[in-house]
């Protein structure tokens, strides 16, 4: 499936990406317009995920990290962000006809979604790490003195 799926994605990339990107933009409480940095970065990240959909690799990993980094600081629940991968599955299902390909597609979507979950949590942990580090930096001279 995977090679066939990769080919399907490349042949219909513009249409698939537009549909999926639109679903992501719809998550935001109000309009996230064209030309805004989030519009652009999401477009880029989701494109990278699609390009690496077939076999994973650097493009997919980087895209997932970028994708999760955006959603990890927005106020909607993680499940809402992760649901986007089910949306992608629905979009891609329209392009495959046989059961075997559908099963393989579902498996791949699950793999990607789990990787995205890990990324999401890593970015949440990063937020807390940033708070600690910022506090340390703000007290730099006091800590230095305390450490002798």
């Amino acid at each position: 499936m995977s090679k066939a799926m990769g080919r399907v994605i490349q042949q219909n990339r513009k249409e698939i990406l537009a549909g999926w990107h639109g679903k992501a933009l719809a998550l935001f409480s109000e309009k996230m317009a064209r030309g805004t940095p989030i519009f652009d970065l999401l477009h880029e990240a989701m494109g990278m995920i699609l390009d690496g959909f077939e076999e994973g690799g650097e493009s997919c990993t980087e895209g997932l990290s970028s994708f999760s980094r955006i959603f990890a600081i927005h106020p909607f629940p993680p499940s809402r962000s992760m649901r986007l991968f089910f949306e992608l599955q629905t979009i891609l299902m329209a392009f495959v006809s046989d059961d075997e390909s559908r099963d393989l597609l579902q498996t791949r979507i699950k793999e990607i979604m789990l990787e995205a979950c890990d990324d999401f949590m890593a970015h949440r942990e990063k937020i807390y790490q940033l708070k600690v580090e910022e506090r340390q930096r703000s007290m730099f001279m006091a800590l230095r003195r305390a450490e002798g």
């Binding site: 996230m32 030309g35 989030i38 519009f39 970065l41 106020p75 940033l130 708070k131 703000s138």
Partner: protein, 549 residues
């Protein structure tokens, strides 16, 4: 320019469809009907009761934005209403700004918080409308008959909650005002709204605690005079260890030619202390006759984020100390909002400082006529003048381990129009400097997302959203030119951008401009230098060939 910018056909479709910024159930409703919610990461803790009491501000109590009941004082509506009337009379600009907006929308997508959140209340036009809608409620009969027609609404506790959320999602950066055809300064509306909120005890601890510290000790961090001196002496020892040169700052010395004032973050926090080391090296290099005050030990002024009266009070110490120490003029360090206060308000607020002289560089003889009124010169102007007159021995190769870009600090760029001096300095102290995209620098610079006192830890997620447009511009030069160093001339930037970079652009480090000056300065009698002020190895200086002639 974004490669995803809309095509003409897209714009035409948008125009014909006339999509609302409000979606779904709210598309046919007023903007104020859309819900907003205080959640972890989008609000800052209110001021502690003891802080409020120390300042003599009203309604000290324990409360949280998550509470249903904010324990507002019994007569809070009257306080706000009368407070607004007083300020409309006092500040002509406020009335002008509230009356003149035509809702053209030119500002709408210019705010970094709107770009980072997509929340329509973060459009500057709507943020101003939060207050304007209450201001318009002077005509309640019209409103009663034609509900929504006049754009007015009643002042309820929900409105106060909304103000608290969104006036603390404005960093008073004034990017929106650059694009306003009528010149409306939304930052001033935010300043008044915050002032009104403080009248009823709706406040922010990250602002009022530094204000109380500054009111008590002279600086935001609450550093006592002896600690202030010890910290700088500790940096002097670091400089000696690294360069072999002993610099000799003096404190509270009467009769010095120049009083040097910088944000206290430069004396206490990382990476500000490295910028301070740069100043100390520079002053020693040119033999400047200067002193540092342990009372006027803060350049910044969080009073600006509180009330006009508090801003005036905290600013007054600069001239008081200059007069007491009988200096000729004042030199100011790298800071953002400090320079908006100094450049735009200080002279009329606490001046004229007739006891001071129009600043003249003792090294080059340059008269800083731009500072003729305030008698206070920005360190970047001072240093740029020194470099222009070839008074500094610089080796830019000492910064070859850094690939830099420059972040224009909002208040210095838009508040005093300083664009070229820091770039001129950077061009002379390092060999690798790359500009971020044109629409994100100079007067169009994007805010760090943490200015105006919203740099609290608990507000981190919102800061990451608000700072995203800036981070995105840094990403551009990081990808294109392998930039790894973000240079800035603002203390809040130095405090907040490291977190922003670590989140959005791991691998990019934040530097103060004068830290790079300190790296590049070739000091008389120095020992062989192989490390920068952070004790990081310099490229090409680990062997004899790399040594300076």
């Amino acid at each position: 320019m974004s490669k995803y910018l809309p095509k003409l056909s897209d714009l035409k479709k948008d125009f014909e469809d006339k999509p609302s910024i409000l979606k779904g159930d709210y598309s046919k409703k007023e903007w104020w009907d859309t819900p907003f919610e205080f959640r972890d990461g989008n609000w800052s803790f209110p001021a502690k009761p003891e802080v409020v009491e120390e300042l003599g501000f009203p309604n000290s109590r324990k409360w949280s934005a998550l509470d249903d009941d904010w324990k507002l004082p019994a007569d809070w509506q009257k306080t706000i209403s009368e407070g607004l009337k007083v300020r409309l009379k006092k500040y002509r600009s406020l009335k002008l700004y509230l009356d003149s907006c035509v809702r053209c929308g030119a500002c709408a997508d210019k705010c970094h918080f709107f770009l980072g959140t997509g929340d329509p209340r973060n459009m500057p036009v709507v943020r101003a409308e939060l207050l304007r809608s209450v201001y318009r409620n002077d005509f309640p009969l019209v409103e009663k008959i034609l509900q929504g027609f006049s754009g007015s609404r009643k002042l309820t506790s929900e409105v106060i909650k909304e103000w608290h959320m969104y006036y603390y999602q404005c960093t008073e950066c004034r990017r929106c005002s650059v694009f306003c055809p009528l010149g409306i300064d939304t930052a001033e509306i935010t300043m008044v709204a915050r002032e009104l909120l403080n009248l009823i005890g709706v406040n922010n601890n990250w602002i009022l605690a530094p204000v109380a510290n500054c009111n008590r000790t002279g600086n935001h961090l609450g550093i006592e005079p002896h600690t202030f001196v010890q910290n700088i002496e500790s940096l002097v020892e670091d400089i000696e260890d690294m360069t072999g040169v002993t610099v000799n700052p003096t404190f509270n010395r009467k009769g010095a030619e120049i009083l040097f004032i910088t944000p206290s973050g430069d004396v206490f926090g990382d990476p500000g202390v490295y910028t301070m080391m740069g100043y100390l090296l520079l002053f020693h290099h040119i033999g400047l006759d200067y002193t540092i005050s342990t009372y006027a030990s803060e350049g910044g002024n969080f009073g600006m984020f509180t009330s006009n009266d508090m801003m005036k009070k905290l600013n007054a110490k600069m001239y008081h100390e200059a007069e007491r120490l009988k200096v000729k003029w004042i030199l100011g360090g790298e800071c953002g909002h400090m320079w908006r206060v100094v450049h735009q308000y200080m002279n009329t607020m606490n001046g004229p400082a007739d006891f001071l002289q129009v600043p003249v560089s003792p090294i080059t003889g340059t008269k800083f006529t731009n500072a003729a009124a305030t008698k206070m010169v920005h360190i970047a102007e001072f240093t740029a003048d020194l470099i222009y007159h070839k008074k500094l021995k610089l080796d830019p190769r000492r910064n070859d381990h850094l690939k830099t870009t420059f972040h224009d600090s909002c208040n210095v760029a838009r508040g005093m129009g300083m664009f070229e001096e820091p770039r001129f300095i950077l061009d002379n102290v390092c060999n690798s400097f790359h500009e971020m995209p044109e629409n994100t620098i100079r007067e169009q610079t994007f805010c760090c997302g943490s200015g105006s006192g919203i740099n609290s830890e608990e507000n981190m997620e919102m800061r990451m959203r608000g700072g995203f447009p800036r981070a995105n511009a840094v990403k551009h030069v990081k990808d294109k030119h392998k930039v790894d160093s973000l240079v800035t001339i603002c203390a809040i930037d130095r405090a907040s951008l490291p977190a922003l970079m670590k989140y959005w652009n791991p691998g990019v480090t934040v530097y103060g401009l004068h830290e790079l000056v300190g790296n590049a300065l070739v000091m008389e009698g120095e020992k062989k230098r192989t490390e920068d002020l952070r004790e990081h190895p310099m490229t090409g200086f680990d062997d004899e060939e790399g040594d300076v002639d």
